[in-house]
């Protein structure tokens, strides 16, 4: 880690049900110096986010157990998640295109909505390396 490490993203929670995809993103992010924890369904993801602090949560939408939207709503509700640090950046990383209304609803709670197929693991790692903690990395693709 270089000198900027302190104010850049370090601890990442990756909530992704497709194991191949999760492992791949985790491996590439770890090779780039990030500390990555994986959760393979919504329930596990919510529990991990509620019990341990992370700098960044990468959240899929289509998840078994609890959906990404349900996890997001639970995390952003201080009554349900009193221990969760509300300054934590949450980025939706999915291949699922929501309708505009739902997307708006999601973007009120999350900081970005990225389409996985355009953000390869290395692209994501590069984006995050250049971004300060609490800021949203500029997306190489239009956020639709």
């Amino acid at each position: 880690m270089d000198s900027t490490a302190k104010d850049s993203y370090q601890k990442i929670l990756l909530v992704e049900d497709e194991k191949f995809v999760a492992d791949l993103y985790a491996a590439v992010l770890q090779r780039n110096g990030f500390v990555v924890t994986c959760a393979y369904d919504g329930t596990e993801g919510l529990a991990k986010a509620q019990t341990e602090p992370y700098d960044l949560i990468l959240l899929d939408i289509m998840l078994p157990g609890k959906s990404g939207l349900e996890v997001l709503q639970a995390l952003r509700n201080p009554t349900i998640s009193p221990t969760f640090d509300q300054s934590t950046t949450i980025i939706i990383l999915t291949n699922f295109d929501e309708d505009d209304i739902t997307k708006k609803q999601i973007l009120a709670l999350a900081q970005a909505y990225l389409i996985k197929v355009y953000i390869t693991p290395q692209t994501l790692a590069n984006m995050l390396k250049d971004t300060k903690k609490g800021e949203v990395p500029p997306s190489p693709t239009p956020m639709r």
């Binding site: 497709e18 090779r31 349900e70 295109d97 197929v117």
Partner: protein, 479 residues
């Protein structure tokens, strides 16, 4: 809207007034004619009676004073004329019609000798009106020295008739005003107000409040109008709901389709990008295996989407006679290899020699979707049973597994395009799929049907039923 409603009201009032006017005018003409007749008869009778009563006394005065004083004759005549308003003049003529005396000489009528010498009274009319009465005077000795002529005035009759017409017209106008007022009131009560109420409520509906119902009272035309608007709103509501449903299904189809195409691409892109991470042959093998799986997933999903699109677009699939036995043998051979690799046992039997009329690649896709699911959802050590039987003119292809099974509430939604709860995004087990939907519509296109039985935790059994090709079809396609 306001103008039309006024026009209808005005039109109806005008129509009813016109009708009343015609009826009333007819009635007036009839009444006046009857009354005129009566009045004229009365006048005639009065004149006749007057003549009968006045002739003797006037003649006596005439005889008495003819030599000495006309003043006395005039006085007697004036006395009698004062008794009747209809007699205006008395003239005395000799039997040749020559005037002997006249009360008003200027207006005395001219009488012919024939009239003057007549034995009985004459009623001389002109234009249907009695003008004068020629009344012969006979002395007590029976002599006929002269004749009286009484001029009759029709003024009284005329004024009576005028008066009657005037009062009738006045009455008519009053009646007309009353009737149009009443018509207006009744129209308002019976038609205008209910119509306005219906149109007010219809406006609410047209403003988008389709749940609004027009209150319907009774069975009349306005009630029918209300009912018609209600049923229109109802069918609009239905159509809108249908369109919204179609729209929702369409966007879900798009969303899930793009998701299913993007996920394998994500894996392929990700692995290719980090190829240097896989620095041993084993790691590389694993990577290539995963890319291969993703390519396969992309392929079969694309295939399903294409099949669904072409069937939904109504494209005809060419069919031909296929031996169920041969067809299933190929599938079983492929399944056996895959099952062995996954550590599953396979039991397969074929008990039919029937031909089926199908599109072979599509049917293969349909059956393979079932076999693929069985392979996917049956854990190691499990068993897959594929049987092909024939009964009642149908070929039954059954694929049973001892896999994870399907929950009862999922079963009914299994063959829908995407079975995903609305609003809240739910995850379906792998194969968020259109595979079973594709299978269903393929089988239905070939004239068959598909059934499923399943118990969660104990496995599933899918059965495809296809009609046996008829003898005629067989003969037709045989060389």
């Amino acid at each position: 809207m306001h103008r039309i409603h006024l026009t209808i009201r005005l039109r109806l009032i005008l129509a009813s007034s016109l009708l009343l006017l015609v009826i009333f005018t007819g009635m007036t003409v009839y009444l006046v004619r009857i009354n005129t007749e009566t009045l004229r008869t009365n006048l005639q009778n009065e004149a006749k009676a007057f003549a009968a009563l006045a002739t003797a006394p006037v003649a006596d005065s005439y005889n008495l004073y003819s030599e000495s004083g006309t003043d006395q004759i005039r006085a007697a005549m004036a006395n009698y004329l004062g008794l009747s308003r209809s007699i205006t003049n008395i003239t005395v003529v000799d039997l040749n019609g020559h005037r002997l005396f006249a009360y008003h000489p200027a207006t005395s009528p001219t009488v012919t000798a024939k009239q003057a010498s007549h034995f009985t009274p004459l009623y001389v009319k002109q234009g249907g009106r009695l003008q004068y009465v020629v009344y012969p005077y006979f002395s007590t000795s029976g002599a006929h020295p002269f004749t009286m002529v009484y001029s009759v005035s029709n003024d009284q009759v005329d004024s009576a008739i005028r008066h009657e017409v005037e009062s009738l017209v006045l009455f008519g106008i009053l009646l007309l005003l009353l009737t149009s007022g009443l018509t207006n009131f009744l129209l308002d009560r019976i038609i205008v107000r209910p119509v306005r109420e219906v149109s007010r409520q219809a406006k609410v509906i047209s403003d988008g409040h389709l749940e609004q119902q027009i209150s319907v009272h009774g069975q009349d035309e306005i009630a029918l109008l209300g009912q018609a608007v209600n049923s229109m709103a109802e069918s609009l509501k239905h159509s809108i709901a249908q369109l919204e449903e179609i729209d929702k299904v369409k966007s879900e189809f798009m969303a899930i389709t793009s998701h299913n195409l993007r996920t394998p691409l994500t894996i392929i892109n990700g692995y290719l990008e980090s190829v240097e991470m896989f620095d041993t042959v084993d790691k590389l093998k694993e990577m290539i295996g995963r890319i291969g799986d993703s390519v396969k997933r992309l392929g079969s999903f694309s295939e399903d989407v294409l099949i669904i699109s072409s069937i939904e677009l109504g494209e005809k699939m060419p069919r031909k006679q296929v031996s169920a036995n041969t067809f299933m043998q190929t599938i079983i051979d492929q399944t056996r290899t895959a099952a062995e690799l996954q550590g599953l046992s396979l039991v397969a039997t074929i008990e039919t020699q029937a031909m089926v009329s199908v599109n072979e690649p599509y049917l293969r896709n349909a059956v393979w979707n079932l076999v693929d699911n069985a392979l996917k959802f049956t854990p190691k050590g499990g068993k897959i049973t594929i049987t092909t039987t024939e009964s009642d003119g149908m070929v039954h292809i059954q694929v049973a597994d001892t896999g994870i099974g399907i929950a009862a509430d999922e079963l009914s939604k299994l063959f829908t395009k995407f079975h995903r709860a609305t609003s809240v995004i739910r995850y379906d087990y792998q194969g968020t799929g259109i595979g079973l939907y594709a299978t269903k519509i393929i089988i239905e296109q070939q004239g068959g049907n598909i059934e499923v039985k399943s118990e969660e935790g104990h496995g599933s059994t899918f059965t495809i039923n296809l009609p046996v090709a008829s003898a005629a079809e067989t003969a037709h396609t045989s060389p």
